[in-house]
Symmetry: D2
Subunit: 239 residues, 4 copies
């Protein structure tokens, strides 16, 4: 499996708090815990040419992981459109945290993807609500994160195909924190945690979920579809 981890990579260069936590960028941290088995893991970032997402990179990516926040608007429309098309053609997509507002995710969802939020060190407890789901393999009944940004309902997404995690926040809110969506031949997993000012991506259970999510999103060879004008398969001539 070929994995590409995409990161906006701005907070880490501009905010010392974030630099301390992720000195080589969130993408490098994520790439490291995704390595292993037969995975080839590469990274790409906003300020590279074509945001590091050339046709060749996309064609050779089985699953793309996406982290973005403050610079969604700087992602070129044509790149966002190419990524979306590649998902429809079978590439898996794991969208993390503030990636809910990325051009790619909004295009795939068709909704505003808006939500409530607060940066106030809320405790988060993420409950498994689908204990059949391979994304929950190896977890307990919930994941607890000591401090995180709050995301609250209403989360303006289509009803997910599968709802995997629900979050409880100390300040009184709930959130659909893990959700899957099929689009074309591609599988999309949205996973909430990962605000840049917290060391969330070092949390073992969070890592486990992303490892599982990438594995789940990988399309190993389902049917390709033919569209357009189509000859009858049965005789309809004698009407």
């Amino acid at each position: 499996m070929n994995i590409t981890v995409w990161n906006e990579y701005r907070h880490e260069k501009e905010n010392p708090v974030v630099t301390d936590i992720y000195p080589e960028g969130i993408h490098t941290c994520i790439a490291e815990f995704l390595e292993g088995d037969d995975h080839v893991v590469k990274t790409a970032t906003l300020d590279e040419e074509e945001h590091g997402l050339t046709d060749e990179v996309l064609a050779n990516t089985d699953v793309l992981v996406w982290w973005g926040h403050k610079a969604h608007d700087e992602v070129k429309d044509e790149v966002a459109e190419k990524v979306k098309q590649r998902v429809l053609d079978g590439m898996g997509l794991v969208v993390l945290h503030s990636g809910h507002f990325s051009k790619v995710f909004k295009k795939l969802m068709g909704t505003s993807c808006d939500l409530k939020w607060r940066e106030a060190d809320d405790r988060e407890r993420m409950w498994v609500v689908d204990p059949t789901h391979p994304i929950t393999e190896g977890l307990g009944e919930y994941i607890e994160i000591e401090k995180e940004e709050m995301y609250g309902e209403h989360f303006d997404i289509p009803a997910p195909d599968e709802l995997v995690f629900l979050s409880w926040f100390e300040g009184g809110e709930v959130f659909r924190s893990g959700a899957t969506f099929k689009r074309g031949r591609g599988k999309v997993f949205y996973f909430r945690p990962g605000h840049e000012t917290y060391p969330t991506y070092y949390h073992k259970d969070v890592q486990k979920v992303i490892q599982n999510g990438v594995k789940w999103a990988n399309n190993e060879g389902t049917p390709k579809n033919v569209y357009g004008n189509s000859q009858p398969l049965e005789d309809i001539s004698e009407k």
Copy 2:
């Protein structure tokens, strides 16, 4: 309820076969069978200014019915975007037949919305697969249409929230012909039949479904959401 029936209104002016069937346009035919009860039904067409879909018209529309085919590209992007936003804000949308390829529907679905098709006078039999659904009120177990254009799977849409009708076609194909989708505060119903060269919109059961669909799609006052930065509802100060 305020209903607006939108039609591209081109085939009827250019193809005598279609003119004979719908002399005053498909929109007029549909508007007529939607009248009654307390409904106010208006129409709008592509060649009117702003395609007949001004801010005022949209603000005063509870449910929009959409028929388009050969001129999807002529619908201005800003109008398509406004219609989409109005759906997310609570307007119902009933998309008919070749409207599957309209800008509005594709934006709301996030997929290509592509399919197989054939104009060969196939017989269509549309089976009810959800006999709890209010859209099926008053129907029998299936609707039979003597001749129609074939639409076949794979239909590249997200898994519908509710699958209501499945079509059988004489030439050997099947199709998810009636499907509902929630987007934001808006309800969307896609309904397959209605190729312009057949008198499908005079079929009593087809009319019944569209009447039911409009009624179902009408949002009578569900909660408005507040998004963005949000104060805690519980005390989190003593951490």
Copy 3:
């Protein structure tokens, strides 16, 4: 619409705390706020003959509301089975609170319907996660209940057809508190609140949800199905 409110009616006779809150039984309280419009509302209780659910009562019930808790086992199997069959045949069912463990609900779900619980005066905040749903008509973004029994995930139900409410509890849990399920021609709405030691059914928003739920569950005439050996609808003789 003919509504029957069924109640176990035991706590109210045995526990003075409950008697004080619901002196004439939970069923009477619920029946009162369901009256109005063209509704005919009746009640039935466990200790009546056939638990008040004779064939005639069931045949004349469009929507059944169910509250039970400590005496689920005393409901006769044949009555539970008859109620289930009537749901499959089109009767709506609104299952409240501890009714999650009733024979009828478990038969319709096929799962254990188990959950976590605690009686400790938790505050509950029930968030609307589906703001298109008619069951949420007239509500705000959430319903707050000062003190309630806690119900927590994992709730062992099939993935609901529609998830309407999610609860936050003070003690750290979440719960899928409002969920819809279609079974046969019947519509089922599970709604969490209503522990007998709290005055929950006097809460205006809780009443509104149950009123909306009953209206939603009413099947106004969808297709009846024919099953079994079936003649071909198309000629298959010349193979």
Copy 4:
């Protein structure tokens, strides 16, 4: 993975047509094409003691495949109940063809599971409608079966979690032929084809689907749930 293939094994002993096709029983045919990789495949049949499904066999089965037809009633209630509980506890279940009417499947669905049927050598064409699903790996856009028993809608099941295949039948019907359901910690796949008088289980694509289905249904270690009275995870003492 430990697989057990269960078969009623009656038609093969009583009807020479079936004996000719499956001389060692349908279970043996299925077991043979499921062998390989690290799978251990065993069989069990109705006339064995406890129908071959002792506690030990069930405890050591990861995925159970079920074929039954004329003797559903002879399956003991307590065995059916044990199998159901084992599914809720994580065992995968692949239900084939007339197994739709088995006690186990009906208990898990909560509906009648009724349908239309006809034995008239209809041609069946099973279309893939979910080209992301691992159960469709290695297939084309449809599977064609020259002659099969017809199963037609309405199929009285809950709306599936995932709809994978839709069948077209020569006589004019359609059917939801491949559908998945999650129940408790168990995954259930219903797959339509396989009437005993046709050599359907020698069809390479049918075999591929069952191989994929077994692999999909295998639960490799998702969370076990704790139910019942539960201590608060957050401090609620100072209210």
